[in-house]
């Protein structure tokens, strides 16, 4: 009797199975031979679809491997668990955390805050990292938690402070307590909290006109920020800066800039100082890190590209954080940008970059941790695109008519504060009562800030000329031979300068 034929699958499909991995394997082989890590960008088109989110693939799904020369943690060889993530680039608005860092970068291990999670199928990942557990609300082990209780409460408090403060700003604006352009940060708190809460006081932050919450996260007291908004002399900039120019030397907040892109070179400059102090002045200790926050519109500006180049060229300890909220006032990101994927612009300069769900503070925090550590080690800059959304209009004067209600609803459902609260409660990191007490405390802080600002005096006339020059001899010599700043009227603000 003849034996039955062997029951293995038909030859062709078995041979085809390793095909998607072939370029990757060839690359590994090539690197073994060459023994040095060239920066490589691989595109392998795959046909699988994203199952993590319900929207159809926005682009043909490519696989990207972005390996950056500057990442030298593991030397020329990539450890299996830390291999460059081969992540499916599926839909542009995919809810999963997509990290495209080279060797040495830790991807987000879990994505517990995103709802509707599924597995990212089809792509090869040598590690288990970029997978989402279905969020069934079940408790995770303590060891798997992303934050300790203290950290969780700190993050929660910071985000609630940001939200409450901005809501109060809106109220105060409509009551006529502040004027001009006021840009609120509602909805984007996860980005500010996720990054800035990892920084020290000696680290630097530059921001845009949407800077209230960056100031609060960096440690500037709410009183000083509110007083500044009211234009009072007790404000952090003595009432001279206003909503769009928050500065604090004590807390390392380098501004607050009204023109987009202006703050990015300033952050690069602060990073240059950090590196200079180490290289030239031989100062010891942790290298201060700078973070530049800016929006999607700024990513089309020349200063952005120039700074990416210089920062990577000199390996400066700066982190470029793009708060991509899809809208630059009324200009949709897709209408103004030839390639809307901003994170891709980093590898063009040889820079490590990442795309992260900016509505999820824990994911942001994980990516931020890696980026900050890289910068502090001296491994250079990182570009991080945070997918986020502003719940309010561009400014308080913006009628916000162009954004679709469906889009707003989609992101309102992903409120970062609600998500963090759910995570903390579901994982029994904090109780409802503790969170309520935090909210109550923040309410009091914000009320107190308003009262303080209301009660503070407006700047006097004498303040007009005081800070124009650091050295007031810059006003020059008057007809009488004395410096104009020596004029008795100078301190009264009445001197002719």
């Amino acid at each position: 009797m003849q034996k039955p034929p062997p029951t293995h699958p038909p030859l062709p499909s078995r041979l085809l199975r390793p095909l998607p991995f072939l370029p990757f394997l060839l690359l590994r082989l090539g690197r073994l031979i060459l023994a040095r890590p060239p920066p490589v960008l691989l595109n392998v088109v795959s046909s699988c679809c994203c199952v993590a989110c319900s929207s159809p693939p926005w682009l043909p799904s490519p696989l990207f491997v972005s390996r950056c020369r500057s990442l030298t943690l593991d030397g020329p060889f990539l450890a299996p668990t830390l291999v460059a993530r081969v992540v499916r680039k599926l839909s542009f608005r995919c809810q999963s955390s997509k990290l495209l860092l080279g060797a040495g970068c830790v991807a987000g291990k879990k994505a517990p805050l995103s709802s509707g999670g599924g597995n990212v199928r089809g792509a090869v990942s040598a590690s288990k990292a970029v997978t989402e557990k279905p969020n069934s609300g079940s408790k995770s082990d303590k060891a798997d938690l992303l934050v300790t209780k203290d950290e969780g409460l700190e993050l929660y408090e910071d985000m609630v402070l940001g939200r409450s403060f901005e809501d109060m700003c809106a109220q105060m604006y409509y009551r006529g307590k502040m004027f001009g352009f006021v840009h609120l940060y509602n909805g984007q708190e996860a980005v500010s909290t996720g990054f800035i809460k990892l920084l020290k006081q000696t680290d630097f932050v530059t921001s845009t006109y949407r800077d209230h919450v960056h100031a609060l996260s960096k440690g500037v007291p709410a009183r000083q920020v509110m007083a500044e908004l009211f234009g009072k002399s007790t404000g952090c900039c003595r009432g001279q800066g206003g909503s769009m120019h928050m500065f604090s030397a004590e807390h390392g907040l380098l501004g607050g800039f009204a023109f987009i892109g202006e703050g990015i070179p300033v952050a690069v400059g602060a990073a240059f100082t950090s590196k200079y102090k180490r290289e030239v002045l031989k100062e010891e200790g942790d290298m201060p890190v700078s973070i530049a926050f800016f929006g999607d519109g700024t990513a089309n500006n020349g200063q952005f590209f120039e700074c990416l180049n210089m920062a990577q060229l000199w390996k400066l300890p700066v982190i470029f954080v793009v708060e991509n909220n899809l809208w630059a006032i009324g200009m949709s990101h897709y209408r103004s940008t030839s390639d809307p994927e901003i994170w891709k612009k980093g590898p063009a300069f040889g820079m490590a970059s990442a795309h992260v769900d900016g509505m999820d503070v824990l994911k942001v925090r994980e990516v931020a941790k890696e980026a900050v550590e890289r910068a502090r080690r001296g491994d250079g800059p990182t570009l991080i695109e945070c997918e986020t959304y502003r719940f309010r209009g561009h400014s308080l004067a913006d009628p916000d008519e162009l954004r679709a209600p469906a889009e707003k609803a989609h992101y309102a459902a992903r409120d970062p504060i609600v998500a963090l609260k759910k995570y903390l409660l579901d994982n029994e990191i904090a109780t409802e009562a503790e969170l309520k007490s935090i909210e109550k405390k923040i309410d009091e802080v914000v009320e107190d800030a308003v009262e303080f600002a209301d009660a503070s005096p407006l700047p006097g006339r004498s303040q007009l000329l005081e800070n124009v020059f650091a050295d007031p001899k810059g006003f020059g010599i008057g007809p009488d031979g004395r410096y104009r700043c020596e004029d008795p009227g100078f301190t009264a603000g009445t001197a002719q300068v």
Binding site: F204, T206, G235, C236, C237, R238, Q240, G241, H245, F247, A249, L254, G255, G256, F257, A258, F259, E262, I264, P265, V266, A267, V268, G269, A270, A271, F272, T273, S274, K275, Y276, K277, E279, V280, L281, S290, G302, Q303, E306, C307, N309, M310, L313, E466, N467, V468, F469, A470, D471, K473, G474, F475, G476, I477, G478, P479, D480, G481, Y483, R484
Partner: protein, 402 residues
């Protein structure tokens, strides 16, 4: 991150006002100026020719100081070209303070497009003399950020005209941040570079940026014109806590002069007396100083007695030196290389009229460049810039023919 201003340990040369100043420095300054007046406009010789009338004038002009030796040759000193003087000043400041660094295109390995930073890369290292990519807006912003966090950068614009690309950062950040931050951050930056009309460099390389930047609040602007004041102003600008723009001129880099061996710093806010006189005050700066001194030779031959002042400080104006001169002569002629519209001369004219209206016997004359993009062709280029014969004619018109 305000840095405490270093107390000056060297005499700051004050020309006219009652301030502590060694008379030696003053005499050097004036005698240098007299030599400049005595020689041709294109170069300075180191001869110590001077007329007796000028020596007497010198003794009266510097009223607060005792008349001392009027030549520098008796004190030693060394001769160098203006770009070498700038280099010397910059080098001394970089040795004195390790936080001073130079940022710009081709400043390191190339030594600077006009060789002002030649040799610096080997001496100070490439972090202190940073060769940047061609990104003026961003590297100026980077210099501002580093100034806010403790360094004292000197930004070199390869040509001043390129700084138009950095206008955003200079106007918005450099000038404003000290104020908008409520005094929390100082920006002790120096922005320097060659500008002005050269020899057929074309319109874009022949720009005068002093008119564009003069309105920016929070900036100081100075223009150097001799090796002596180039070095002194460079050092003063680096030590100053305010952002300073130092304007150099492409055609003056090869001026030769003897400068003192000992350390000195010029005052940023003061003007310089070039030639004392009694009949008319001629206010000028940078390259036009030499056209004026050349014209003054003709004028003296024809019997005029012009007082020539190099205003040096374009923002703020030294209204004391100018005022003292106007009180003496009652006639003013401004000679500048800036454009007619909105130039330094226009501002200076209105400032003088505002302060010294009663002292004036007639309208203030102002000779500026034509409002024309500087043409390439030689004869046309000459026509756009004020020439000595035009200065002579203007003085004759203001003072009356002799």
């Amino acid at each position: 991150m305000a840095m405490a201003a270093a107390a000056p340990t060297v005499p700051i040369c004050h020309g006219r006002r009652a301030s502590p100043c060694s008379s030696k420095q003053v005499s050097v300054s004036v005698s240098v100026a007299m030599r400049a007046w005595a020689s041709k406009s294109s170069s300075l010789s180191s001869s110590s020719s001077k007329s007796p009338r000028l020596v007497a004038a010198h003794a009266t002009a510097v009223a607060t100081k005792e008349a001392a030796s009027t030549t520098s040759s008796s004190q030693g000193g060394h001769e160098l070209l203006m770009f070498e003087a700038l280099r010397e000043g910059l080098s001394e400041e970089m040795e004195r303070d390790p936080k001073v660094c130079v940022i710009g295109e081709d400043v390191g390995d190339y030594g600077g497009s006009y060789k002002v930073t030649k040799g610096f890369s080997e001496k100070f290292g490439s972090w202190r003399v940073l060769d940047t990519p061609i990104a003026e807006n961003s590297f100026t912003g980077m210099a501002i950020g580093s100034a806010m966090t403790g360094l004292r950068p000197v930004v070199e614009g390869m040509n001043m005209g390129f700084l138009l690309l950095a206008y955003n950062q200079i106007a918005n950040n450099c000038g404003m941040l000290h104020y908008t931050s409520g005094g929390q951050f100082t920006i002790p930056i120096v922005i320097r570079g060659p500008g002005g009309v050269g020899r057929q460099l074309g319109a874009e390389h022949s720009q005068r940026l002093e008119s564009y930047f003069q309105s920016v609040p929070g900036l100081q602007m100075v223009a150097c014109s001799t090796p002596y004041n180039a070095k002194g102003l460079m050092k003063a600008a680096i030590r100053c806590e305010n952002p300073v723009i130092l304007y150099e001129h492409v055609l003056l880099y090869n001026l030769k002069e003897k400068i003192p061996d000992e350390e000195y710093v010029c005052c940023l806010e003061e003007a310089e007396m070039v030639r004392p006189g009694t009949e008319i005050t001629i206010l000028t700066y940078s390259r036009m100083r030499y056209h004026v001194t050349q014209a003054a030779k003709t004028l003296v031959d024809r019997g005029y007695d012009p007082e020539i002042i190099d205003i040096r400080s374009l923002k703020p104006f030294d209204m004391y030196t100018i005022g003292e001169s106007v009180r003496k002569t009652h006639r003013v002629l401004i000679v500048e290389e800036c454009m007619r519209t909105g130039g330094i001369g226009a501002s200076l004219r209105s400032a003088i009229m505002e302060s010294f209206w009663d002292e004036l016997d007639g309208p203030i004359g102002c000779l500026s460049s034509q409002d024309v993009p500087t043409p390439y062709s030689g004869p046309l280029e000459e026509l756009t810039v004020v020439q000595p014969h035009q200065i002579v004619t203007a003085v004759e018109n203001l003072c009356g023919k002799k």
